[in-house]
């Protein structure tokens, strides 16, 4: 069966720190691949190191920041007095196949790129990574049957960096806490400011139907749409602790419910 091209190709996954963004990305990536799409996961969290493990990959690719010389060397490149050599990121548009092999790791139809990581104290802020993420996503042209999932940094700073202008839709991972609910409301409002129309929350670690209903009512009261919910699954925590891939057949129905609406 040939899959239809659909509108929402670049999906940002954001939310409060610890809400389960990376686990959600891994679960979604596996199921989207199962539906016949090629999935690109973009690791844009400059702190957490282990998304590649959650995806079942054996290593993290070279960060895209190295494309511009790396954070520590980028100014040496500029100060040599000559124009910088063209790179993938100076092209107006590129495809998945154009990404140099050292910057992308692929296995079984799921590929991973990494924007950059904070490596040492006093190295400065993460703004360059936010800009690279925005430019990478903005210039990436996805083909038919290709989807990008972006594991965002925790919180809302990426809105200040304009990353949302380069994606089609956003999933806000929301756990059962007041902080998480308040942040979902705030992110929903920030997304509206940049005219992003496809914004939903995904409830995560929902241990009971009663809790699910309570969270949905609370988010509805705050004007935030809910696309689905993921049940509490202790094995996810165990996988995270042991660095094993995040794959749970028990959650397939929950994930399918989300993808039916998203794709």
């Amino acid at each position: 069966m040939e899959l239809e091209e659909f509108f929402m190709k670049k999906i940002a996954v954001g939310g409060k720190g610890g809400s389960g963004k990376s686990s959600m990305v891994a679960l979604l990536a596996n199921e989207i691949r199962e539906r016949g799409y090629r999935v690109l996961v973009v690791d844009s969290d400059e702190s957490n190191p282990g998304l590649y493990r959650m995806l079942g990959l054996d290593r993290r690719p070279t960060p895209l920041l190295e494309l511009v010389g790396g954070k520590s060397r980028v100014f040496e490149t500029f100060s040599e007095g000559s124009d910088s050599p063209p790179t993938l990121l100076t092209r107006e548009e590129f495809r998945l196949a154009d990404i140099p092999s050292e910057y992308i790791v692929t296995r079984d139809g799921v590929a991973l790129v990494c924007v950059g990581k904070i490596l040492q104290s006093l190295e400065g802020c993460a703004c360059p990574m936010g800009v690279l993420n925005r430019e990478f996503l903005g210039r990436l042209s996805l083909g038919k049957n290709e989807v990008a999932l972006i594991d965002m940094e925790a919180g809302i700073e990426h809105f200040g960096r304009g990353v949302e202008t380069s994606v089609d839709s956003m999933l806000i991972v929301t756990e059962p806490s007041l902080d998480s609910l308040e942040l979902a409301e705030k992110m929903n409002a920030l997304a509206a400011e940049v005219q992003m129309e496809n914004v939903w929350t995904v409830l995560n670690n929902v241990a009971s139907e009663e809790l699910d209903l309570r969270l949905r009512e609370e988010l509805e009261r705050r004007g935030v749409a809910v696309i689905g919910s993921i049940g509490y699954e202790p094995e996810i925590f165990q996988s995270g602790l042991e660095g094993r891939p995040i794959r749970r057949n028990e959650l397939k129905a929950d994930i399918d419910g989300i993808l039916d609406k998203l794709l």
């Binding site: 511009v68 980028v74 960096r161």
Partner: protein
């Protein structure tokens, strides 16, 4: 955001000329600007102001200097 947006001010109006500027250095009477991803541009201008709170840099055009004429005969 730390990377700068650069504007040129003319007749009291500011026009954006470049975003995500990571490097600026004087070159040939103007300013060579390079973005984080390596796009560069030379602007015949000088810095009027730098605002590090909103990462904006305002330039003003450099008036062309009159070349010295031939010595009087």
């Amino acid at each position: 955001m730390c990377l700068a947006t650069v504007y040129v001010e003319e007749d009291g109006q500011q026009e954006e000329v470049m975003r995500d500027v990571a490097w600026i250095e004087p070159r040939g009477g103007g300013l060579q600007m390079v973005t984080l991803i390596g796009e560069s541009r030379l602007v015949e201008a000088e810095i009027k102001s730098i605002n590090l709170m909103d990462s904006s840099i305002v330039l003003r055009r450099v008036m062309a200097k009159t070349a010295p004429g031939p010595p009087d005969a």
